[in-house]
């Protein structure tokens, strides 16, 4: 497809790699975090690490919406479908995330544990609205997860439901914010759970940035003196962004640069931002898997749209549930451990039978590493 294939050209990728090798100063080490799961996936899929010099390391970040969703939030969705009789509409990736007591939305749907829950996979919020129109006597809840990329479609769905008087539709809002997560990672001090991550620069989000623009990352350069390069999800985009980061580090610069200029501007999509601001407001705090409670890091539905807020409508309470003890997802999401550091990686935990959330979505570090890279380490 146009504007995809050109950005996957193998010869150009190798040429970029040679430029990175030439630019990387032998006396230094470079450690860059790719925030997005989409980048993590591309790095594994195209074997980009093999093209990079030995003194340059990529660290996976927390930018996988499925991965950072804590167990307690999945439990809320299961509760809605299983005990409140709602039809739960969700993006596919959430279905297999392990919840409390060995449950998942998929198992709830299959009837594990007694009754069958009505859980439906949707591609778009528009499909969820259609389910609500088709079942006027049923409560229909959209399980809304994701970063700023997925938030505007949820905002539009809520406004659409209001204008149609679709009173059986509501949203379990679990939308989270990228800049808040980046700040948490950069601020993270050494804790009992382990060392803070040391990174020299950041690959900024691709499609999140089409919505919010590049401006929200400027604090990374200004306050933390780390360079940021926003990059598309294709392999050439990533390689070029890495080269740009190496050059910034070499020159002692810390700026926000935009490799993905074909889709991202400094201001972002103002229309989408306006819709989001009409429907949502900041939550005081939100629990992230791996990052714990992060202040002002997620959105909730404004009082004006309370009728469409599943948390209010069903009086749901969030309850913290600890992760499986063996699972290292938390440390992986903070960038301080790698999938292969987990003792049950690839043995007890696999994409067919995920123990932690990082093994579920193809953007999760463990799933990406399992699918494309797991044999590399053995050599």
């Amino acid at each position: 497809m146009k504007y995809i294939d050109e950005f996957r050209d193998g010869d150009l990728a190798r040429n970029l790699a040679q430029n990175i090798v030439a630019a990387a100063e032998p006396g230094r080490t470079y450690s860059f975090m790719e925030f997005c799961g989409g980048h993590t996936h591309a790095i594994s899929r195209y074997g980009l690490v093999d093209l990079l010099p030995r003194n340059l390391r990529m660290v996976h970040g927390p930018g996988c919406p499925v991965c950072v969703l804590p167990i307690g939030r999945i439990d809320m969705a299961i509760d809605l479908a299983l005990t409140r009789g709602a039809i739960l509409c969700t993006y596919a990736d959430t279905l297999r995330v392990p919840a409390s007591g060995g449950m998942s939305l998929m198992k709830a749907r299959a009837g594990t544990g007694g009754s069958c829950a009505d859980v439906r996979m949707v591609y778009s919020t528009r499909d969820a609205l259609q389910v609500a129109r088709d079942h006027p006597r049923r409560e229909v809840v959209f399980f809304a997860i994701g970063f700023e990329t997925t938030t505007p479609p949820t905002a539009l769905a809520i406004q659409q439901a209001q204008s149609e008087g679709l009173s059986n539709f509501s949203v379990l809002c679990c939308h989270v914010l990228t800049p808040a997560a980046i700040r948490t990672i950069l601020q993270s001090p050494e804790t009992e759970q382990g060392p803070a991550v040391a990174i020299d620069g950041l690959i900024g989000p691709a499609h999140v940035s089409t919505v919010i623009g590049s401006r929200p990352y400027e604090f990374v350069a200004a306050e933390f003196h780390k360079p940021v390069v926003i990059a598309g999800f294709e392999p050439l985009d990533l390689m070029q962004a890495i080269l740009m980061l190496v050059r910034q580090v070499n020159a002692g610069r810390a700026e926000v640069e935009n490799e993905f200029s074909r889709a991202v501007s400094r201001e972002g999509n103002l229309k989408a931002q306006a819709r989001v601001a009409e429907v949502f407001e900041l939550r005081r705090e939100f629990e992230w898997r791996g990052l714990a409670l992060v202040p002002h890091s997620a959105l909730q539905i404004r009082a004006q749209y309370a009728a469409f807020d599943a948390e209010r409508r069903f009086q749901l309470e969030y309850r913290f549930v600890p992760d499986n003890k063996a699972c290292e997802c938390g440390a992986i999401l903070r960038g301080v451990k790698r999938p292969q550091d987990c003792a049950i990686f690839g043995s007890v935990c696999s994409p067919e039978n995920p123990v932690g959330s990082c093994m579920v979505s193809s953007e999760g570090a463990c799933a990406a590493h399992y699918g494309y890279g797991r044999y590399q380490d053995r050599h």
């Binding site: 497809m1 504007y3 950005f7 970063f147 499609h207």
Partner: protein
């Protein structure tokens, strides 16, 4: 989750919708988040919504840069 694709708008429909070409497959999408989309434009499609327009000039510039770097040959080590 955040994956989105560049797709070309082939027809404009009623109520902020459009038909796009998704690798040979026709699909209806929403243009409610964008202004002034024309037939022939490329948009970044995510979960049924166009999130931004793809700036074809910027895309060509980026590709030209890659081509130029390759023509220059590998940088001296």
């Amino acid at each position: 989750m955040c994956l989105a694709l560049p797709v070309q708008v082939t027809e404009l429909g009623a109520r902020d919708t459009a038909i796009v070409d998704l690798g040979g497959v026709r699909k209806e999408i929403s243009l409610a988040l964008l202004d002034e989309v024309r037939v022939g434009d490329y948009v970044i499609l995510h979960a049924g919504y166009a999130l931004s327009k793809l700036d074809q000039e910027e895309a060509e510039k980026t590709l030209a840069l890659f081509a130029q770097m390759q023509a220059a040959g590998p940088a001296a080590p």
